[in-house]
């Protein structure tokens, strides 16, 4: 039994580049990675939003209506739905004046998980306890 932790750190706003979205889809793939690993081997992702990256977490993104593509919001909801740990930096929400009412949840999809709003120190700790970090 051996687990490898990976921190996916999103530092940039959505849509300007594909990378913030790819952070969600890459992290999500931990769900199926076992088919390429040995028994008992697992990967645990932590998906973290810091800096302008927290702008990914605004709800009511209408990318499907406006441009016909899946919104970053929908990707994030899917992450919560499969019980992934998703963290966003409290200091940055405060800096941008983003209240909890504007932050994505997946309640309507029946998810138990919520986005975890944490101080940057917690994200630092996640990086320290991870085997690998990936900055998006």
């Amino acid at each position: 039994m051996s687990d490898v932790k990976i921190t996916f750190l999103v530092q940039r706003p959505p849509y300007k580049s594909e990378n913030p979205k790819l952070a969600t889809t890459h992290a999500m793939s931990y769900q199926v990675v076992e088919i390429l690993l040995e028994d008992g081997q697992t990967i645990t992702p932590a998906l973290c939003y810091v800096g302008e990256g927290v702008l990914n977490c605004l709800k009511d993104q209408k990318a499907m209506e406006t441009y016909g593509i899946t919104s970053t919001e929908m990707h994030l909801k899917n992450c919560l739905l499969v019980d992934m740990d998703v963290y966003a930096c409290k200091e940055d929400f405060d800096k941008y004046g983003i209240g909890e009412d504007r932050i994505i949840d997946a309640d309507d999809m029946g998810a138990d998980k919520k986005m975890q709003i944490v101080p940057f120190a917690k994200i630092q700790e996640l990086m320290e306890t991870s085997t690998h970090v990936m900055f998006f």
Partner: protein, 98 residues
Amino acid sequence: MKLGVFVSDYKLTVDTLDRLTAEKLGIILVSNGVYHASIKENGKTSSLLDKSANFYALKEDLETRGIDPSGIDSRVKAVNYGDVVDLIMNDYEKLAWL
């Protein structure tokens, strides 16, 4: 000159807009540029909006990012693609993209 500048980013790495002058300046916020119309940092609106210019923000790009066009800064007018075409053709002679 009558210059229409498309601002497509939030954190700009170029300072050209701060340096140039135009008798008539239009700033059209598109893509992540629309955050200038909505996001306050530490309670302050974007300094871009302090410029002497007419400001527009693309509705579709606001909505894509979860921003309600009715709630943006009062100095900025929400416009759609058709409006942008009219701005280009009727109001500004030269166009720049940042």
